[in-house]
Amino acid sequence: MAKTILIVDDSQSMRQLVKMTLTGAGHQVLEACDGRDALTKLTGQKINLIISDVNMPNLDGIGLVKAVKARNEYRFTPIIMLTTESEQSKKAEGQAAGARAWIVKPFQPQNLLAAVEKLMG
């Protein structure tokens, strides 16, 4: 059954790659170019999962996770961080904010899909 996934990344090409990976697996995709834009997309509709970059303008990924967890209707929505950041301190920040997984770019599309299916299963 198709799930709706929100992709948040300031890189249009990365959003495109992630979108192609997810739509190829039959999922529906919403896109946002940063954390602030992502929050405008969370307007009550069902979002099964969020995939977010960390370093973005306006509102970064860690800030987005905190903001999402503060919203009742989305506080249980799993969030995957997809980022070039591989520092343990950053990962710890993401975990503390409420992210469920951390994937370092460049990523293998099948690894992303496996993580997505695991968290939505």
């Binding site: 890189s11 249009q12 090409s13 990365m14 495109q16 790659l17 192609m20 190829g24 960390v54 370093n55 980022t83 070039t84 950041e85 591989s86 520092e87 990962k91 993401g94 975990q95 992210a99 469920r100 997984a101 951390w102 994937i103 370092v104 770019k105 460049p106 990523f107 293998q108 599309p109 099948q110 690894n111 496996a114 993580a115 695991k118």
Partner: protein, 364 residues
């Protein structure tokens, strides 16, 4: 005014050297040329930092900038900044298009593989051919069974021929009996004539018996002729059927051989087609793996974009500081610390790129 100009140039050159692919160097040419102009000035060069990964760019040697340097930087740096922006935009659009094209190729390959499996797998050409072979074999066997039934029919008709011979013999016997009866009737008539008036009644009976014997002889003859005609018809039928049977057996043998030959050739062709298709499938899967690897490799653009963005932002900060004659221009360590805070990639932090692996996924 003091600033770690060499360190900044070292960082810029190292970043561009790390991230800009060879085919995009012309677009970064202006920036590199401008940076080279400054790097060639009589101060400790940052070139070593750009060419060595053992030393991070921000650890480069620092020097003191003159008032003339600031004027030059203020005049040229906006061009560097714009070139960086153009490079980022160019990379973004081209890599996006490459992602799309490779994705389309991968999808078409997937579709071709599915089609190929449909043709070669269950319900495909191979199964159709095996089914056709089975059905043709059944048709041949049906013809063979029909031929055997025809032989059985011929045997039955052959027996009819022997019955006809017996009938003909019986018909001739009837003629002989009629002939004897006629003779007896003739003798009876002679004896009746001798008896005179007393034999008149007997004479009438003898005449009737003669008529009957004559009629019997004619009937026997007619039977003999008809049985002869029937026998001839049966013989003709048997001969025609035998000839037909021989021809049919020949046709059956030809049909069987033709079917076997055609099916054998089709089977050989199918095997060749199957081998070629499997080779194509293997190549297609290898190509898909290559495309997956390319899709991963092309993600360098995201790291490149971030690194260029950091240089671009720092360049803007430098311009702003020059215009404002900001005191931060005199505190190189603090400036470099701020710059380090922006770093998001291993290349920036350690000068080493990362390689993708399944270990890159961490679940919390």
């Amino acid at each position: 005014m003091r600033i770690y100009l060499g360190a900044w140039l070292g960082l810029a050159l190292a970043t561009i050297g790390l991230v800009v692919p060879v085919h995009l160097l012309p677009h970064a040419g202006l920036l590199l040329s401008s940076l080279a102009l400054l790097a060639l000035r009589p101060r400790k060069t940052a070139r070593a930092a750009a060419t060595s990964h053992s030393q991070t760019p921000v650890d480069s040697v620092v020097t003191q900038a003159s008032a003339g340097d600031w004027q030059l930087i203020e005049g040229v740096a906006p061009s560097w900044r714009d070139s960086l922006g153009q490079t980022r935009a160019l990379l973004q659009s081209n890599i996006g298009e490459l992602f799309q094209r490779f994705h389309n190729i991968a999808q078409r390959l997937e579709q071709s593989l599915d089609n190929s499996n449909d043709v070669l797998g269950n319900g495909g050409v191979g199964e159709s051919l095996r089914d056709a072979n089975q059905r043709l074999h059944e048709v041949t066997e049906s013809f063979r069974a029909s031929s055997q039934r025809q032989h059985a029919l011929l045997d039955t008709i052959s027996h009819l021929d022997s019955y006809a011979s017996q009938l003909q013999h019986m018909a001739r016997r009837v003629q002989e009996i009629a002939k004897q009866t006629n003779l007896l009737a003739l003798n009876a008539a002679i004896e009746a004539a001798r008896a005179g008036e007393y034999g008149r009644g007997f004479s009438v009976v003898a005449d009737e018996v003669r008529k009957l014997s004559t009629l019997s002889a004619e009937t026997g003859l007619a039977m003999d002729e008809k049985v002869g005609e029937i026998t001839h018809a049966i013989q003709t039928t048997i001969e025609a059927a035998a000839e037909l049977g021989t021809s049919e057996q020949s046709n059956l043998d030809f049909l069987s051989q033709s079917v076997s030959g055609v099916m054998s050739r089709l089977g050989d062709n199918l095997n060749q087609l199957s081998d070629a298709s499997h080779a194509l499938q293997h190549d297609a899967r290898e190509t898909q793996h290559d495309i997956q690897a390319i899709m991963v490799s092309l993600q360098f653009q995201d790291r490149t974009d971030q690194m260029l963005e950091h240089v671009q932002s720092d360049l803007q900060d430098l311009l702003d500081a020059i215009v404002a004659n900001d005191p931060s221009l005199h505190d190189a360590p603090a400036w470099l610390d701020r710059l380090r805070q922006r770093f998001t990639t291993d290349e920036e932090r350690h000068g080493q790129p990362k390689t993708p692996s399944s270990a890159e996924v961490t679940f919390f």
